[in-house]
């Protein structure tokens, strides 16, 4: 009798425990996924914003972007003549100025570049350094801040050889602090306070130190095409009389390793000193130049 009772108890017990185990909260795959999500949310990581702009130049001036470490960026920039020259000059296409440049990334945050423009036969060299990077996560930084320092050497022969001309008079220096923010996948904006010092001012009434504040942005139209606008406002009292503020509008088209930039601008020069402070063209008069920039990246150094 007792044996049977024991067996009965045992059978019932196994059934109960079997049932309990089946009713244990099973780790459903969605529960597991939720657990993974919770764990990664508590992890302390910094997400750095990338690709604020498609390339290192907006139209004429710099963006907050640098080229990557070990990357060589070959830059060819072209500006034709002004549209208001009419049909005989093929609306400016018969005239052209050009800048060839090479940019190189020493690290991901430090790059250098050299270039030579046909306009005033100007050589330029610059150093560009990312000071702050926009990020989210445990460190929240709302903007990317990049410093650009450019030196320009104008090598045209002196017009007046009867006076004493100094080599140093050919030099000018530009310092910019570019502050930019990627607001969304498609919209990025930046402001560019700019300081230019030129060793030689043409007229005694013109200042050697010039100030301007630039504003620019890009709006992505498709995954690979964006609309760019760039404007440099010269601060009154710190500008050369008679010059206009540089305004440029263009499109960026990106394919594989190239970025093509097509734009209209009122500036002929492509060095900061030229387009920020020496633009003579006026949009309202039709002094609009069609131009393009081509950028091709090559990876030289090891990643």
């Amino acid at each position: 009798m007792l044996q049977r009772k024991i067996i009965l108890i045992w059978v019932v017990w196994v059934c109960i425990t079997g049932k309990i185990m089946a009713q244990q909260p099973t780790a459903d795959s969605t529960d597991l996924m939720a657990q993974l999500e919770n764990e990664s949310a508590s992890q302390k990581t910094i997400n750095y914003t990338t690709a604020t702009f498609k390339t290192t130049r907006l139209v004429n001036g710099h963006t907050v972007e640098n080229v990557g470490k070990g990357v060589l960026d070959v830059k060819i920039a072209h500006r034709f003549g002004t549209l208001n020259k009419g049909g005989y000059e093929l609306f400016g296409l018969d005239n052209a100025t050009m800048r060839m440049g090479l940019d190189y990334g020493i690290t991901n945050n430090l790059m250098v570049g050299v270039g030579r423009s046909t306009f005033q036969k100007t050589f330029d060299a610059f150093l560009k350094m990312k000071l702050l990077r926009q990020s989210t996560g445990i460190r929240n930084m709302p903007v990317t801040v990049t410093y650009v320092g450019t030196a320009a050497l104008m090598t045209l022969k002196w017009g007046d050889t009867s006076r004493k001309n100094y080599f140093s008079s050919r030099l000018s220096y530009t310092h910019q602090l570019i502050i930019g923010r990627k607001f969304s996948e498609s919209t990025s904006l930046q402001i560019m306070p700019t300081f230019i010092h030129r060793n030689l001012a043409e007229l005694a009434s013109d200042p050697n130190d010039l100030l301007a504040i630039g504003i620019g942005g890009r709006q992505k139209l498709t995954k690979r095409v964006s609309l760019n606008v760039e404007y440099y406002y010269q601060i009154p009292g710190y500008k050369i009389d008679g010059t206009s503020n540089a305004l440029s509008v263009g499109f960026d088209i990106e394919t594989g390793g190239h970025v093509f930039q097509l734009h209209f601008t009122n500036s002929t020069g492509m060095t900061e000193k030229n387009f920020v402070s020496e633009t003579s063209g006026k949009w309202e008069k039709g002094d609009i130049l069609f131009g393009f920039n081509i950028s091709r990246v090559f990876t030289i150094g090891k990643n």
């Binding site: 007792l2 024991i6 108890i9 045992w10 017990w13 196994v14 425990t17 309990i20 185990m21 099973t26 780790a27 459903d28 795959s29 969605t30 597991l32 996924m33 657990q35 993974l36 999500e37 764990e39 990664s40 990338t50 690709a51 080229v67 990557g68 470490k69 990357v71 990334g105 991901n108 996948e185 995954k223 690979r224 394919t255 594989g256 390793g257 990246v297 990876t299 990643n303």
Partner: protein, 184 residues
């Protein structure tokens, strides 16, 4: 008296046997995914060490997930940027994941090598595909190692290849997943 002891012993045995549960949840301690695009004009390889995952041996359910922008390698920094910006759209779809259930019933507490099939929802670029993926499991005393090789068709996940780079990007990407897991 003897009968009481018998009942007591029986009760003790039943109590202890009921509390032994063979099921446990394993967590990835080291996991990587590497992929390869073998196209006529270009070979692209990249990998990430940030694979995370959980596997419940009792229910055979699993969940794995990896952050898309953690992949490194590529042939240039620009290529990595394009991978994230234009193809994978990592801002919109930060993670790729696979969750589901192992088909075969094996004893996960018994060391050995097994070849099983994982069936579940594979999500890449925000598009879910139900897939059955073969996995090699190496079960050891206190850990499970897995390895799997399979292919992903870019078309299946709405990733378009522009005509310009047709010869530089394979439409079928080969993946290799490796992970070591130990009981949580």
């Amino acid at each position: 008296m003897v009968k009481n002891t018998q009942i007591l012993v029986l009760a003790a045995v039943m109590f202890f046997s009921a509390s032994f549960s063979p099921a446990s949840v394993y967590k990835v301690t080291a996991g990587s995914i590497s992929f390869r695009s073998d196209a006529p004009l270009e070979l692209i390889k990249a990998a990430s060490n940030e694979l995370t995952g959980l596997f419940d041996t009792g229910t055979k359910q699993f969940a794995f997930r990896i952050k898309v922008n953690s992949f490194k390698g590529f042939n240039s920094a620009l290529q990595k940027e394009h991978f994230n910006e234009n193809y994978m759209e990592s801002e919109k779809f930060p993670y790729a994941s696979f969750e589901g259930k192992m088909i075969e019933d094996i004893d996960y507490s018994k060391p050995g090598t097994y070849n099983v099939r994982a069936k579940g929802n594979f999500v890449v670029h925000g598009v879910t595909q139900e897939r059955i993926i073969k996995v090699d499991l190496l079960i050891k005393e206190k850990s499970i190692s897995l390895k799997s090789n399979f292919a992903v068709l870019l078309n299946d996940h709405n990733i378009t290849i522009p005509k310009v780079v047709h010869e530089k990007l394979a439409s079928e990407i080969k993946l290799e997943v490796k992970a070591d897991m130990s009981a949580r």
